[in-house]
């Protein structure tokens, strides 16, 4: 893992080095036709959770999990002869997690330490902005790879500003093609089958496709307030459960989670940002969500950055979330043999959750710790609690390099 981390860091630093101070900045009014380094961002986080409703053990058992995640993105820009701005964004993400519940897929092969896995998720995007016309088009590709799951995604977007530049329509489309290994719990594997090893060929594969289209409109209401409306539709097809999620029926039999092979999700969102006085900003988000599995949800998010001075902000936040259960959920030993679809995954049960915390952000003129290239540092902590007993904590660090 260390080697992979160092390799990723090495690649990114090589990018920085190769573009460092080779081209003049746009701030002088000069628009470079050559590719020039715009900015880079590093976001790294540590997440841990615990609860007693693991889907791997049929809705009972530990949900202990830790995850370390790092995402680095580097942005380059250039201007073409028609004065259009081209932006290239290269992103590399890396996750490493340990999960106690994954031990229970096959407890006989694991000695006690929690099962660990890593995920690599690079992506590339390119957009062209015509500032005269107020339009932007963009395309992107994303990959995600871990031991039992591979995903490839493509996306495209188009945005158009209104004549007075106070509003903007955006249309986006995304497709994800996923492949997952059909890893059954040990007691449900056919006798004589493979499935105990770490080789690619040990397991069958299943596929999953996700298509999404979204429309949004943002508008400046006045000098202090702007809002955005977002409507999205997501259609998923294929194997939408997970093969190692056990369900215990009321006759003590154990089976694998079975869910419909299509799901249509409709989230509708509204965002608003308001500058209150000279030091406080209020950022709000509300989302209504509905899908054809019977799940309805509401999300409200409030964040209030407080500018202590021009270079230092404190940012408290609070998020409330509420959902109903999907039609196919029942707890441990509550499903019957008559049920066509069944799951004991508590992520799909009825619950409310609260997520709250605070962070700070520094943007010193001479750079963070006197290092001119690090233009911003932000750190924040959040605590998440679900009414069904799951609790988690996340601490995140973000840095911007210019």
């Amino acid at each position: 893992m260390k080697r992979i981390c160092l390799s990723v860091a090495g690649i990114v630093l090589t990018f920085f080095a190769s573009f460092a101070q080779t081209n003049p900045k746009d701030s002088a009014g000069y628009k470079s036709r050559k590719l020039s380094f715009e900015e880079a961002n590093l976001v790294t986080s540590y997440y841990k959770q615990d609860g007693n409703n693991s889907a791997v053990t049929g809705g009972i058992g530990t949900q202990k999990l830790t995850d370390i995640s790092t995402v680095i993105d580097v942005k380059f820009t250039r201007w073409d002869k028609k004065e259009r701005k081209h932006t290239y964004d290269i992103e590399i993400g890396f996750d490493h997690y340990t999960s106690a519940s994954s031990d229970n897929v096959d407890p006989h092969t694991v000695s006690g330490a929690s099962r660990a896995d890593s995920r690599l998720f690079p992506s590339l995007s390119w957009s062209v902005e015509n500032q005269k016309k107020g339009s932007t088009i963009g395309v992107g590709v994303a990959l995600s790879s871990e031991f039992d799951y591979q995903s490839i995604g493509v996306n495209a977007m188009f945005a158009q500003k209104t004549k007075n530049r106070n509003g903007e329509f955006t249309a986006k489309a995304q497709v994800f093609l996923d492949k997952l290994k059909y890893i059954l719990p040990i007691e449900l594997r056919p006798t004589g089958s493979g499935g105990g090893g770490d080789d690619e060929d040990d397991y069958e594969n299943r596929s999953r496709k996700s298509y999404s289209g979204s429309l949004s409109y943002s508008h400046i209401i006045n000098k202090r307030l702007q809002v955005m409306f977002i409507a999205e539709m997501i259609k998923q097809q294929g194997f939408l459960g997970l093969p190692f999620h056990r369900v215990y029926l009321n006759n003590n039999a154990v089976v694998v989670e079975n869910l419909p092979d299509t799901r249509t999700k409709i989230p509708l969102g509204i965002r608003a940002s308001y500058f209150l006085g000279d030091k406080i900003i209020v950022r709000g988000f509300y989302r209504y969500y509905h899908d054809n599995w019977g799940l309805n949800a509401h999300t409200i998010n409030l964040e209030t950055p407080i500018k202590i001075n021009p270079y230092f902000s404190v940012i408290p936040f609070y998020r409330y979330y509420s959902q109903t259960a999907v039609d196919y959920f029942a707890p441990y030993k509550m499903h019957t043999t008559a049920d066509q679809y069944f799951t004991s995954n508590y992520d799909l049960s009825k619950f409310n959750s609260n997520f709250y915390g605070a962070g700070f952000k520094i943007t010193p003129l001479k750079g963070v710790l006197g290092i001119q290239r690090i233009s911003m540092l932000e750190m924040r902590y959040g605590h998440y609690s679900r009414t069904n007993g799951l609790n988690s904590d996340i601490i995140t660090l973000s840095m911007k390099f210019k």
Binding site: S102, R119, I220, L348
Partner: protein, 79 residues
Amino acid sequence: MKKNHQRSTARMIALALFFSAIAFASCTTVKEYQKNKLNDSEMTLSARKIEKTEMSFQSYREGASGANGGKTGGGCGCN
């Protein structure tokens, strides 16, 4: 139970439309040179980079996703 939920959903949507109508009623054209507050980095309407990993775990631990600028597919989040 479902009827209650539908009623509360309708109420929430009506409330959102009401506040949107008030907001749009007070619309004024803001010139570029008047946008210094709107251009503040904290005023962004999209999700910020630091929220990325938070949105990722929430999309795994909750049944709802989308309409927040995050991913709507791809990746497992199985555990």
